[in-house]
Amino acid sequence: MMFKKRHSLALLLPFALALAGCDAIQEQQPGEPETDDAFASTYQPMPSEPLLIVNATLLTGTGEKIENGQLLMRDGRIAAVGAKLDAPEGVRVFDARGRYVTPGIIDVHSHLGDYASPGVNAHSDGNEMTNPNTAEVWAEHSVWPQDPGFVTALAGGVTTLQVLPGSANLFGGRGVTLKNIPGRSVMEMKFPDAPYGLKMACGENPKRVYGSSGRSPGTRMGNVAGYREAWINAREYLSKMEKATSPDDMPKRDLELETLAGVLKGEILVHNHCYRADEMLVMLEIAREFDFKVGTFHHAVEAYKIADKLAETGTCAAMWADWWGFKMEAFDGIRENIPLVDAAGACAIVHSDSEVGIQRLNQEAAKAMAAANRVGMQITPEQAMRWLTLNAAKSLGIDEQTGSLEAGKMADVVIWSGNPFSVYSRAEKVFIDGALAWDSEDPRFQPKTDFELGIIEIGGQL
């Protein structure tokens, strides 16, 4: 939570900010960030008006379902949720008969903006493949806000997403959590006060990328040595900062170590690309050795084999519904991975890692749910909805703000044309902080990126 205070202060009192700024300069310690609001979120919610949704089937994201329910959005927040609300006089009412209402979908693993469409060489900005440890790079500095994929994801009900660096490196860099709204810069899209993520990667990718050019790591054991070396350095960096009694004792500021130290301080969340069960357990052991937490394993194709361990350590697993076999470490994928992790009491998430998959995460969850129910597990749609919303919000450290239909939370809400776990349903209306961001029936609420203007229409728009 690096810029929480500054952000709200800046909005409130320019005068106080000036004073605070002076204080900050005087108190600036070498080794501390120059300013802790560099690249701060400048996100402003779009204009909204109060709306009461009635006669809806609500899947709240907390595991509950309310039939014939109502939801009131006001001032960008969810004001109330329930069977029958005391709605204010004259509030606009939307009759959602036959429709489902859910929290906005959250994708914890996206590369939108970093690998933008069209996928030309010039848009390949997701992997800083120059060193196995590039903890110093930030995915947000590659985000092209004009990626048309943001809009197609919005049409799939995605209101929040984490953009991560790729998996070529042991430490890929910082990930960033975005609100899925149009912005001229990434700062305008950044989810206010969301913690940063650190992308780490296990397995085949780092050892292939570096081993093939004769560098370390070239093996899985080389990977592990690489992680441990980096954490030793980070511990030392942090310890020097903590022990410093005068500014002269502070270590020189180091972007790479700053990010790793952020993890050790619990401010930056670890998002670890890792497929195999045995490797995930090794990573948990490294986390124990250096006293940090792996927040979420991503891809986690074999998470079902260690679901008990994930539950024990409070580690989330973000998974595909059915991807398998495209590489050796994905050979043991099964359809029931997500539900088995959930059933063990661990935090299960559906993620995309794909500009195609992100458009229908609801369908991915549906496949996993139905496969589980065929083998006697009993997963209801309201339970499965957690995989797409509240659990994802927990993984990103934003579950206090969004991820469920609960009073006081951001009004990130989707009205589906029918059951979201049907292939035929679509996100009819998508609200972000109470503002209508997408409407499948109204072209005025179907944003077009700059890129699309005057280029797609050439062939004639359908």
Binding site: S117, P118, G119, V120, P148, G149, T152, E204, Y304, K305, D322, W323, W324, G325, F326, K327, M328, F331, D332, G333, I334, R335, E336, L340, E355, V356, Q359, R360, Q363, A366, K367, M369, A370, A371, R374, V375, F421, S422, V423, Y424, S425, R426, F451, E452, I455, I456, I458, G459, G460, L462
Partner: protein
């Protein structure tokens, strides 16, 4: 002994009957033929074929009866462009024959003799209702990838049902890359190959006596192109941009060859021309982003627009390991305007028509018994197959994945490498 023999004989007879004859009763049968949808119908399967379908059908003696309890029955589905049978792990060149990186063969390159009918991908996909696939070769150094084949996912001994289903050529962006950097070069490579193949067929003797000019392709490649020139074998051209599709149609017209458009992200723009040329399109219904400058006009409505214009369409999921997701792809096409029945046709009778597959794609007497009993609407993401039959064989509903699942579902005290007895 006397008492045992009759029982044994009876057992053998019962086994023989069970192996060959099935009756699926009380089903909602989508016949994909003029009979349309039959309710409370029975499907009889004997010796690999469907022998009777209808409401008033007698169940033969000794048939194993499967009460569908009102569930949907359709023909098995067909993925129209896959690498099934020639890849285990995509990222491992040692376990992936879909890329002939540096072969000197081009048009003669064929998948028929490299199909592995014991591939792990086959059970994973067939227990979800995919019963047949077209397996195509990937490109090496040439725009010609070679010949695809029709594969049954239900047979070890006779997996390859048709050794030559199409000649595969890649144009567009990737074809341009293969041909030296421009679309013009790729088109020229195609023209030169067709010209050479034609000249070869007219001057074989002169060629054998080394009295012809040098051809651009090797002898086996020229031989492989003959059925294309004669119109027996279609040319499946991988191409996305509308303008590239138009170029393909011009060449098809000029050389009198049959073409199939594979990919066709922008095909909807030239739907009328495709319909007039009677050129089918195999597409991935998920393709909707401007993923490249040849897919700028991609849209989820591609399938619906092509169908409305009268173009014959079939689907590819774009993946081999998950060819099973072709149903979801079809469902999404329906969600974006394709009639439901048209989507089912695109998974059955249309690919049969495109690749000249006989006796597959319908539930009708005389057709191969590729039959699936579904637990719901087959295009719905929450639906799975209850039972799959492929060429009359009742498929065990198991795969490596179901075995992994069952191992980890079981709570065992012993280490998990010991299975339950």
């Amino acid at each position: 002994m006397k008492r045992i023999i009759p029982a044994l004989l009876f057992g053998l007879c019962a086994f023989a009957a069970q192996a060959d004859t099935y009756a699926i009763t009380n089903a909602v049968v989508h016949t994909m033929g003029p009979e349309g949808v039959l309710k409370r119908a029975t499907v009889i399967i004997e010796d690999g074929r469907i022998t009777a379908v209808g409401a008033d059908v007698n169940v033969p003696r000794g048939a194993e009866v499967l009460d569908a309890e009102g569930k949907v029955v359709t023909p098995g589905f067909m993925e129209a462009s896959s690498y099934i049978g020639i890849v285990e792990v995509s990222g491992e060149p040692s376990a992936n024959d879909s890329r002939a990186q540096s072969t000197r063969y081009t048009a003669a390159h064929s998948v028929a003799d490299m199909i592995n009918p014991r591939s792990t991908l086959i059970p994973v996909n067939r227990i979800e209702g995919i019963t047949r696939v077209i397996t195509r070769p990937g490109n090496g150094l040439s725009i010609f990838a070679g010949k695809s084949a029709l594969i049954s996912l239900g047979s070890i001994d006779n997996a390859v049902l048709d050794r030559e289903t199409a000649m595969h050529v890649t144009l567009g962006q990737y074809g341009a890359h293969l041909a030296g950097g421009s679309r013009g070069a790729a088109i020229m490579q195609l023209r030169e190959a067709l010209e050479d193949a034609r000249d070869f067929s007219r001057n074989r003797r002169a060629f054998e006596n080394a009295e012809r000019y040098d051809y651009s392709l090797s002898r086996p490649d020229l031989v492989a192109l003959q059925p294309v020139l004669s119109g027996e074998l279609p040319l499946a051209v991988e191409v996305d941009r509308a303008a590239d599709i138009e170029a393909v149609l011009r060449i098809a017209d000029e050389y009198r060859v049959r073409v199939i458009v594979l990919g066709g992200s922008e095909a909807w723009i030239v739907a009328d021309k495709l319909a007039r040329a009677n050129a089918p399109v195999i597409l991935n219904p998920f393709q909707n982003l401007p993923s490249s400058f040849e897919q700028i006009a991609s849209t989820l409505k591609n399938a619906a627009a092509l169908h409305a214009a009268g173009v014959t369409i079939a689907f590819t999921s774009g993946e081999s390991h998950n060819a099973r997701n072709i149903r979801q792809a079809a469902g999404n096409a329906v969600a974006h305007g394709l009639p439901w029945t048209a989507a089912l046709e695109a998974l059955t009778v249309n690919p049969a028509k495109i690749f000249g597959v006989q006796n597959y794609g319908r539930i009708a007497p005389g057709f191969d018994a590729d039959v699936v009993v579904w637990d719901g609407d087959p295009l719905e993401v929450t639906t799975f197959a209850d039972q799959v039959f492929i060429q009359g064989r009742k498929i065990p509903m198991e795969s490596r994945q179901t075995k992994l699942r069952d191992r980890y579902l079981a709570k065992e005290e012993r280490p998990q490498v010991y299975d339950k007895p």
